[in-house]
Amino acid sequence: MQRLKLFIPLIVFAVLAIFFFVVQKQIGSGAYDPQNMPSALLDKPLPVFQLPDLLSGATVANAVLQDKVVLVNVWATWCPSCLYEHPYLLKLAQQGVLIVGVDYKDDAAKARQWLQEKGNPYLAVLDDRAGTFGLDLGVTGAPETYLVDRSGTVRWRYQGPIDERVWSETLQPLLAKLTAAQGG
């Protein structure tokens, strides 16, 4: 018994070492991201918005999302990950995925130029120059993407660029389920 006591520190060390090793591994593989916290909006209605469309200037409100399963993508020209994400969004749009853009705290002229040069994957782009809608969404930066179902409820939020991995592992199954569940 006495001898066993001698090993307690070693055992504690080993347990901690294994714990940290596993966490580190998970961070490395992307399975666990300490930065990624669940959205406060999950399973809640998307906040009410009324913003000018970046391109036409017409006022866009929640009605634009009505009866659709839509991705709401927060982006800006100052955001390098958005540049990385952009081609993938174009690809998704071509596949028929509905995406509404929120141009977050951005220069409108630069944003228009960006869409003209690189292509526009968005159904509509909200010009959120002041960042108020972004604040209501609880974004912490860009890009961030919200999946909104037909009833206007937020079902999923992703911080960071959408890419092949996110699409095939998480987004596509979820989108398929939401589209199927509520009838075509």
Binding site: M37, S39, A40, L135, G138, T140
Partner: protein, 162 residues
């Protein structure tokens, strides 16, 4: 000379202390009470982008936005409760360094009590073991005689070579 070096060191230290408070925004308040509440909020709310920094200590753009928002809400005359609810509705309880007690935070709040009681149990076990340890056996006559002899030797004051 020494004084001067000391003073230079002190002012440098002060600079560091100020730098640690990254964000000092030039906000005007109507009353000192408002300013005090603002300070309290930026100290007690966590920057949503950062792992462990409050709004006061963060340079992240989102922290700047949230400070501006807090300032606006305070000037609008919102209550503390309303402001906290406003922030939690957007960023979740993650933003609170002092979260309310509920199912999700129960472990967080009760852990100190848990550890304290584990410590108490361990201490109790140790004390109890000590108490039940057998008393030192009494000396018999022979041993007592030897001890007396040794003690009286010592009292003679003479040191023996080792």
């Amino acid at each position: 000379m020494i004084m001067r070096v000391l003073l230079a060191g002190l002012s440098l230290a002060l600079c560091w202390a100020l730098a640690a408070h990254a964000a000092i925004d030039p906000y005007e308040f109507d009353t000192d009470a408002q300013r005090e509440r603002y300070r309290h909020f930026i100290e007690e709310m966590r920057c949503p982008k950062c792992q462990n920094q409050n709004l006061a200590g963060s340079d992240a753009p989102i922290a700047t936005d949230l400070r501006r928002e807090l300032h606006r809400l305070l000037l609008e005359g919102r209550s503390d409760r309303e402001i906290t609810d406003y922030m939690v509705a957007r960023y979740g309880e993650f933003i609170l360094y002092d979260p309310p007690f509920d199912k999700k935070t129960a472990l967080l709040w009760l852990a100190p009590l848990l550890f304290l009681s584990i410590g108490g149990v361990v201490m109790l076990a140790i004390v109890r073991r000590r108490r039940t340890e057998p008393e030192v056996a009494a000396l018999n006559a022979d041993e007592r005689a030897r001890i007396d002899e040794l003690l009286s030797d010592d009292r003679s004051g003479e040191e023996k070579p080792l």
